[in-house]
């Protein structure tokens, strides 16, 4: 991804009000999560004598069933959820890129073996893959991140492999081989820059799904251990007192929804901004064939999109 390309994409992105709003929301949540230990009015384990108190000057969002300040819990929850999703997606991007490059660039038996494995994981529902991995490794945030990245890696491996295969056939790559460039140089200079744009879009889309999936794992008790908190585990605790204090469920649920919505909006905006200008306009979402991920519902494997659009 060259600088001028990135700049042009950024310029197109900021012309989309929805994407800008999404970016702003993600930014606010990001700062809130980053600064959670500093700006939280109370500590993570600090309890007061007021149980299930309503919003007050002391507790802006009230307190929960054991007297913990909801705002402080929320800020720490945002921090954990964002961090876990970020690590899971980054891990998946790195491992997926390596697998995809190996398969696409070297081809042959390596390709067949790696893609078999990738397809096996991909055929399994992502959240269930993560649950099984966490179940077998034991519940913790770290294992939840590992489980999620195992579920996401195939998406990136498939995407990168497809791009690598396409680039390998380009004349300038063949020329580079003739001139005597080694595989590392070709991958770094020619393959990766071509892979980067769709990879960034896919990573953004996956991030929204990662937030939901980490929330589900935490809700089921498969992620953070107390006293650590995440938005999902907060909601779980609130579920017990839904009869008298629905606020305890409303607050973290709203936070996950708004954050995921913002991430999805940014991903959509980025995808449209990266598409060639011919694909712009109201119909651009229809999957006019620009880029591998155009017109894709969030969380759908890229391979499926290709099948959806280009089915023989």
């Amino acid at each position: 991804m060259s600088d001028s390309y990135a700049r042009r994409t950024a310029a197109r992105l900021v012309r989309r009000p929805a994407a800008v709003a999404g970016l702003a929301v993600v930014g606010v949540f990001g700062v809130a999560g980053l600064l959670a230990p500093v700006i939280s009015p109370y500590g993570l384990t600090e309890t007061s004598s007021e149980f299930r108190a309503g919003p007050s000057p002391d507790h802006w969002l009230g307190t929960d069933a054991i007297g913990k300040d909801t705002l402080s819990q929320l800020l720490h929850g945002i921090r954990t959820s964002l961090w876990a999703s970020l690590v899971a997606v980054t891990l998946a991007v790195v491992v997926g890129t390596v697998i995809g490059l190996c398969a696409g660039y070297f081809g042959g038996r390596t390709d067949r073996l790696l893609m078999r494995l990738v397809d096996a994981v991909l055929s399994f529902p992502g959240l269930l893959t993560a649950m099984v991995v966490v179940g077998l490794l034991g519940p913790s945030v770290l294992n939840a991140m590992i489980g999620l990245s195992v579920a996401f890696t195939p998406l990136f491996a498939r995407l990168v492999r497809g791009q690598a295969l396409a680039v390998r056939e380009e004349n300038y790559v063949k020329a580079a081989v003739v001139v005597g460039c080694g595989p590392v140089r070709i991958i770094r200079r020619h393959v990766l820059p071509n892979v980067a744009p769709p990879l960034v879009v896919q990573a953004c889309m996956t991030f929204g799904f990662a937030l939901l999936a980490e929330g589900a794992l935490a809700f089921l008790g498969l992620s953070v251990r107390p006293p650590e908190t995440s938005l999902g585990s907060m909601l779980r605790r609130g579920f017990g007192s839904i009869n008298d204090t629905p606020r305890l469920v409303l607050v973290p649920g709203l936070a996950i929804t708004v954050l995921t919505l913002a991430c999805n909006t940014v991903a959509d905006g980025l995808r449209d901004a990266m598409a060639r200008p011919s694909g712009e306009g109201a119909g651009a979402r229809a999957g006019s064939g620009d880029g591998a991920v155009a017109g894709l519902p969030a969380g759908v494997p890229t391979e499926v999109a290709v099948e959806v659009e280009g089915r023989p």
Binding site: R116, L117, F124, P125, M131, G135, G232, L261, G287, A298
Partner: protein
């Protein structure tokens, strides 16, 4: 068609084998002692040793995998460590709950997604399209466990219209079944409906721009015929793929929803097994899920070939 089916099945078998093998390898990494898990926490060392001999856990891993596989083919999936009951029996007892949840959720998501997708796709860019798009985006972003709590609060706590927990079999009382299954199914149907609407909108917009639609309109056909007969049929093919994917996702969603509504289906069985590190059960649920996913993919493929003449082999 038959050739497609046979080809697909032939590639499905190694896929299922690979998935069970992967789970088995992961299971080897699982902390804790399987024999102790089966024997129970209070078991004396000699009892644990007895269990280890009975289950032949000291055999090398490849031998145990092959033995699990040969037993599985004969319908024996081992014994749950937590309940001491045969896994296959328990799966057989629980699958109707999850199946009826899945059918209800899928029906509801089609009922939500198809009208929204059509309304959006016919007039892209209109205020209705934008409003529904916002709704669909929220539907895609709202986590199931949150939707479920909201539904419980609104329909079971605030107004006591529906029971908050439990399950009644369809054959016992269809009305009670519907009352119990509605909230869990709706929870799962929101994401599904949003995905279906999104895909249907996209493909409808695409199809309506094509020449044969313009030609049909130019020939003076009634818009209802153009849309109903020419556009929707083509636009529904990608939706079919989404529906196929949804069925796999429903199994994952069932874990969350069954836990919340206390339905004793495959999802809650899987969750209990995962929390208890009950390896035989995890392996059994994985096998069933893989089989369902493969069967659904096969069905979607065959439907595709049936609905789309261009996909038929010459």
């Amino acid at each position: 068609m038959v050739r497609v089916a046979v080809g697909r099945l032939a590639s499905a078998v190694p896929l299922i084998l690979l998935i069970t093998l992967g789970t088995f390898v992961l299971g080897q990494l699982m902390p804790g002692d399987q024999a102790r898990a089966v024997a129970g926490p209070d078991a004396r060392p000699e009892e644990v040793a007895q269990v280890r001999r009975d289950l032949r856990l000291d055999d090398p891993a490849p031998v145990r995998y092959v033995r699990w596989l040969t037993d599985a083919v004969q319908g024996d999936l081992g014994v749950s460590a937590a309940t001491r009951r045969p896994v296959a029996d328990e799966l057989g007892r629980r699958w109707p709950v999850t199946a009826s949840l899945g059918v209800a959720a899928l029906t509801l998501s089609l009922a939500i997604g198809i009208p929204i997708g059509i309304a959006q796709g016919l007039r892209p860019g209109s205020w209705l399209d934008r409003a529904l798009l916002a709704l669909v985006s929220v539907g895609l972003a709202a986590p199931a466990f949150w939707l479920a709590t909201l539904l419980v609060y609104l329909l079971a706590v605030e107004r006591r219209w529906l029971p908050a927990l439990g399950y009644v079999g369809f054959s016992e009382s269809p009305v009670e079944w519907a009352r119990h299954i509605f909230m869990p199914a709706l929870t799962l149907a929101v994401v599904g409906g949003a995905e279906i609407a999104r895909q249907l909108r996209a493909s409808l917009v695409d199809v309506l721009r094509q020449d044969h639609i313009r030609a049909a309109t130019a020939r003076g056909l009634h818009p209802r015929v153009v849309i109903g007969k020419h556009a929707l049929r083509n636009a529904s093919l990608p939706v079919l793929t989404i529906v196929g994917l949804r069925i796999g996702q429903l199994l994952a969603g069932a874990v969350v929803v069954e836990e919340m509504f206390e339905l004793h289906g495959l999802g809650s069985y899987a969750l209990d097994a995962i929390l208890n590190q009950d390896f035989a059960v995890v392996q059994g649920v994985v096998l069933v899920t893989a089989a369902v996913v493969v069967a659904v993919n096969l069905a979607v493929d065959l439907l595709y070939h049936w609905a789309n003449p261009k996909a038929r082999p010459a």
